[in-house]
């Protein structure tokens, strides 16, 4: 069983807020629709470059798109 990534994202809500389909956003950032679906579902961690492209597409910073939980002692 693949361990889910700790990195979460709100790509889906940002995408829907802009009225974009998965196919349209995938085309904009240069990936296949299946890859975008995998990223949205947390089944694939995008490269840093791709993460920046996604954030830039929404005109926002990385922190607004991707979240990483705080370390707890």
């Amino acid at each position: 069983m693949v361990k889910p990534t700790k990195v979460t994202n709100n790509i889906r809500s940002l995408r829907e807020a802009e009225g974009l389909t998965q196919a349209e956003l995938a085309r904009r950032i240069g990936v296949t629709r299946q890859t975008l679906i995998a990223i949205e579902q947390g089944k694939y961690s995008p490269t840093l470059e791709l993460a920046f492209q996604i954030a830039r597409n929404f005109g926002t910073g990385l922190d607004d798109v991707f979240r990483y939980p705080e370390e707890t002692e």
């Binding site: 069983m1 693949v2 361990k3 889910p4 990534t5 196919a23 085309r27 240069g30 990936v31 296949t32 629709r33 299946q34 890859t35 995998a38 579902q41 947390g42 089944k43 694939y44 961690s45 995008p46 490269t47 791709l50």
Partner: protein, 144 residues
């Protein structure tokens, strides 16, 4: 299903079928006698040739059919495909190494060329099959 995943499935299916076919043909050719008496190399050469051609044909035909339903999915590969391909190669490589080590050991003991060649052949086949399975799992379950 994306272009590269289709290609992975095509190679995996063809490799499994041709490897099983190779074993059946060699065992049948032995006619109950020693396997080392079988003229194995034409069978092996044909198996490798047929595998390559069949993989290309299946990939092209599958791509053609899939392209009719989803034209955007034809011939495109992205970072995720490359990452998954690397995982598959890494997993498969270990079996190639095992095959290579087997060849060295068998050569050291002057084993029959049948066993030496077939050890390498099954090293390649297992590398392709296990690497393909790893890639398919990564496509289906995710890669994080």
């Amino acid at each position: 299903m994306v272009y590269e995943e289709r290609n992975t499935w095509s190679a995996l299916i063809v490799t499994v079928i041709t490897t099983i076919a190779y074993v059946i043909v060699v065992v049948h050719a032995a006619e109950g006698g020693a396997l080392t008496d079988v003229e194995w190399w034409p069978i092996m050469a044909w198996t490798i040739g047929v595998s390559i051609v069949a993989t290309v044909v299946v990939s092209v035909l599958w791509g053609f059919i899939a392209g009719m339903f989803d034209p955007d999915s034809v011939g495109t590969a992205d970072q995720r495909d490359r990452d998954i391909s690397r995982i598959g190669d890494r997993v498969g490589q270990s079996f190639m190494v095992i095959g290579g080590l087997g060849v060295i050991i068998l050569s050291a003991f002057e084993a029959d060329t049948f066993w030496i060649a077939n050890t390498m052949f099954f090293g390649f086949a297992l590398a392709a099959i296990v690497g393909g399975i790893a890639s398919v799992i990564a496509y289906r379950r995710g890669l994080v």
